[in-house]
Symmetry: C2
Subunit: 242 residues, 2 copies
């Protein structure tokens, strides 16, 4: 009988701390709940073919000339000249079916770039929680949950999703020597899980986003299991592997 390798789960609270983790043999789950990784899950659920994360707004525009749809957001707002913003609702549109998208966001795409040395990079949000956990269980790899945060600062909504994934993996991974960041995420998720929306009402990002009038976006992004997708980076672009 071949024994399965022992797999660990870890959480990194900021792309600025990724250098503390050896990710070369791990699957890194990039998390930006409000709203990049939530919108990415919706886009694949609605039939997009690929999403190429790009660092700068200028780079996205170069993709537009190659026939891509382009999405961009800075500080929570959609930018002029772009086809798509950062609201999950803007991706519920037949025009994206079968298309390639180039996407640049304040935090999410930067976190994907920070994870570039990983064995594999995959997208996580509440919207694909169970599908993601099931897929991770099927891989023989340790997992690092990378919270995008807000401009490298810790944020609660990404931490709660990281905690939810820790909970989801607990029977299949070795949590006995889990680091404190993962323990904290798990504690916070268990504290919040009965009403994520109320728990996050006081959070700084929520306050920051309030003026953008995106309350329905936020409620949707905190609703587990609305999509059956696992977006994974393959040759520089995200594709759905489910």
């Amino acid at each position: 009988m071949i024994e399965k390798p022992i797999r660990f789960v870890d959480v990194c609270f900021s792309p600025a701390l990724i250098h503390l983790h050896d990710i070369t043999e791990s699957i890194v789950v990039v998390i930006d709940v409000l709203r990049a990784t939530s919108s990415i899950c919706v886009a694949f659920a609605y039939g997009v073919k690929s999403i190429t994360p790009v660092a700068s707004v200028e780079e996205s525009l170069a993709y537009k000339e190659k026939g891509f749809l382009v999405g961009a957001e800075r500080n929570g707002e959609m930018l002029d000249g772009f086809d798509l913003g950062n609201s999950p609702y803007s991706y519920m549109d037949p025009k994206i079916i079968g298309r390639d998208i180039a996407l640049s966001t304040t935090n999410g795409t930067q976190a994907i770039a920070a994870a570039s040395g990983a064995y594999k990079i995959v997208i996580g949000s509440f919207l694909n929680l169970d599908t993601l956990c099931n897929w991770l269980k099927q891989q023989d790899r340790s997992v690092l949950l990378l919270c995008s945060g807000w401009k490298n600062s810790f944020n609660l909504e990404d931490t709660l999703l990281a905690g939810a994934v820790v909970e989801g993996l607990q029977n299949d991974f070795d949590l006995s020597k889990m680091r404190d960041s993962a323990l904290a995420a798990q504690h916070l998720y268990n504290l919040a899980k009965d009403d994520l929306n109320s728990f996050l009402e006081k959070s700084s990002h929520r306050i920051r986003l309030e003026k953008l009038n995106i309350d329905s976006d936020i409620k949707y992004c905190l609703t587990p299991n609305q999509t059956n997708v696992v977006p994974v980076i393959v040759n520089g672009a995200l594709v759905n592997v489910i």
Copy 2:
């Protein structure tokens, strides 16, 4: 009537993230519960005159030649040729009364160095919790609680103390726009406060320290209000300002 300025409380989970905070006008509380900042509080309670934080073991030895007592710890263990280690009990000794100490530790003294641009640097631990909070309330300054962590990684025990200070300051500081790190620390402290010791039993640093056989150190370091001291950096050395 002169209105008091609005003061904020914030938490930084790692010295590697200190650059995200403008600390020039703030008081930075350096926290390394297990065990540097706990031992520093004990040393002042037992009559030490000053503690000079030094970055390297070599630098400490140069201070020894100048008549200082020298303390050093690396990876939790005391080093040969030093007078003092990192256990709070080693500072409960009449030999330290009126003496100057040069101290180098794995995390605590590095965090003090990271805070060097602050308006003022002060030492926090459970051992001086109430005295520290009362002193902070008397200053007209915002406060950043800097967790030393373990080699720049997030740790739970420092976060719990940060959360305890947030709780202690809530009636005197403006918490309405508090950042998520401070909210998380406060949530975790409230979850843990009835039995800090049990809450931390699974934590990674606790597991790391287990092999050092310092269970009584840990229990002591998690006991609030054993000392009435506020160690503050003045001209490069810590002195007790109470």
